[in-house]
């Protein structure tokens, strides 16, 4: 028995174990999702995340130790984000023809994302730092953490809210758009990109390349606009 314990100690200290676990959990999540007929509730990020969290709890492994291995997967998020330029380039004509809807929907969506989250959190009596942390929840995590800090919020709480918003949007978008009988995949993708950043974009690519491309541009533009709106807000409140 002590031999097995030694092997565990050796393996759990190596990044290979949690890198492998992350990829296997994701493949298992894909298989579960396919088994359930691809229902959006069976979101692959959600299932794989829950599987790994359960595994970490059972094996008493810290997140820091998990991330030693998972960082190699996490690192690829950078080049993958740059890669979103390629589907955008392939759909450049469609983007050029849609500048008016893109601009208008961006402004309306961005203001709704921030305004409604802040209003509801305030209605529940959340303290000022929690309200400040929920405001940038529709942008990607690095932007949201920085903006939350500028607004007097809690960056780590902002990061959690960003992830939850991403998963929520990815789960809701397909049934919602189908129920509304919306067949314009550019519009569907753009909406999920504004509401749910990269996780929404990953979902959009599972549905269609056009949706993915428009979700990618929405994510980029919403990050920029939210930063500007928060900057203006901070300057105005100081004045």
């Amino acid at each position: 028995m002590s031999g097995i314990a030694e092997i565990w100690v050796y393996l759990s200290a190596s990044p290979l174990l949690w890198l492998t676990a992350t990829i296997l959990a994701y493949l298992l999540a894909l298989a579960i999702s396919a088994k359930l007929g691809g229902t959006p509730i069976a979101n692959s990020v959600l299932i794989a995340g829950l599987l790994i969290i359960a595994l970490l709890q059972v094996t008493q492994t810290s997140y820091a130790q998990y991330f030693e291995g998972a960082q190699f997967v996490h690192f690829l998020l950078g080049p993958a984000t740059v890669a979103l330029a390629i589907p955008l380039y392939k759909n450049l004509e469609k983007v050029r023809r849609s500048l008016l809807p893109i601009g208008g929907a961006l402004l309306a969506g961005s203001l709704t994302a921030m305004g409604s989250a802040v209003a509801i959190a305030m209605a529940f009596g959340a303290p000022a730092d929690v309200v400040a942390s929920i405001a940038p929840k529709s942008t990607s995590a690095p932007i949201a953490m920085e903006l939350a800090r500028n607004l007097g919020g809690i960056p780590s709480l902002a990061a959690v809210l960003v992830i939850l918003t991403g998963i929520l949007g990815a789960v809701i978008v397909t049934p919602l758009m189908n129920a509304l009988k919306i067949k314009d995949y550019a519009a569907r993708g753009f909406a999920v990109g504004v509401a749910s950043h990269g996780i929404g974009t990953a979902r959009a690519f599972q549905v269609s390349e056009v949706a993915g491309a428009f979700s990618g541009i929405a994510m980029a533009l919403n990050g920029a606009l939210t930063s500007i709106l928060v900057l203006v807000w901070v300057l105005l409140s100081q004045a």
């Binding site: 992350t22 994701y26 692959s44 959600l46 794989a48 995340g49 969290i53 709890q57 997140y63 998990y66 991330f67 960082q71 997967v73 690829l76 080049p79 993958a80 984000t81 740059v82 890669a83 589907p87 955008l88 008016l100 809807p101 208008g104 929907a105 309306a108 969506g109 994302a113 409604s116 509801i120 959190a121 529940f124 959340a126 929690v130 929920i134 529709s138 690095p142 920085e146 500028n150 709480l157 990061a159 959690v160 809210l161 939850l164 918003t165 809701i172 919602l176 314009d184 550019a186 519009a187 753009f190 909406a191 999920v192 504004v194 990269g198 996780i199 990953a202 994510m219 930063s227 900057l231």
Partner: protein, 140 residues
């Protein structure tokens, strides 16, 4: 290297070297994006923008200017985007660190997120469709 587009050719030239060159383009753009954002932050310290997204916009501008998409870059990008969901798993697992925060504020915040996300999706898609109809109507 032919100056014309590789798209639609019978045999796109995907070799280990062109795939690696595609990856090199992606990380070079990311590096350029990170550098650009760092320089912008020197000038305006409260400016926030992720380097990879800046890199994406740089690559889009470059592709739009050159009007040519190398097959290796296309294949590498398609592969990475195909596993985009996997790449968010480590961040999603990061939620475990904040169990206390979530338990403390969980139900009201979760409700706020659900309602706000629903509203954002509806307002964005509604505005998009209305303006798309308007701009299509203006065209002859």
């Amino acid at each position: 290297m032919t100056p014309k587009s590789d798209e639609g050719k019978a045999k796109p030239r995907i070799t280990p070297a062109t795939l690696l060159a595609g990856f090199a383009v992606l990380i070079s753009c990311q590096l350029a994006g990170e550098t650009l954002v760092s320089v912008a932050r020197l000038l305006a310290p409260s400016f926030v923008f992720p380097g990879p997204v800046a890199g994406m916009l740089l690559l889009l501008a470059y592709l739009g200017w050159r009007r040519r998409l190398p097959a290796g870059l296309d294949a590498m990008a398609t592969g990475l985007i195909g596993i985009l969901s996997l790449l968010f798993v480590p961040s999603a697992v990061g939620i475990v660190q904040y169990g206390g925060l979530i338990l403390e504020w969980g139900p009201p915040l979760l409700l706020a997120l659900v309602i706000s996300t629903l509203l954002t999706l509806l307002v964005t898609v509604g505005t998009y469709l209305a303006l798309a109809r308007l701009s299509n109507g203006e065209e002859p």
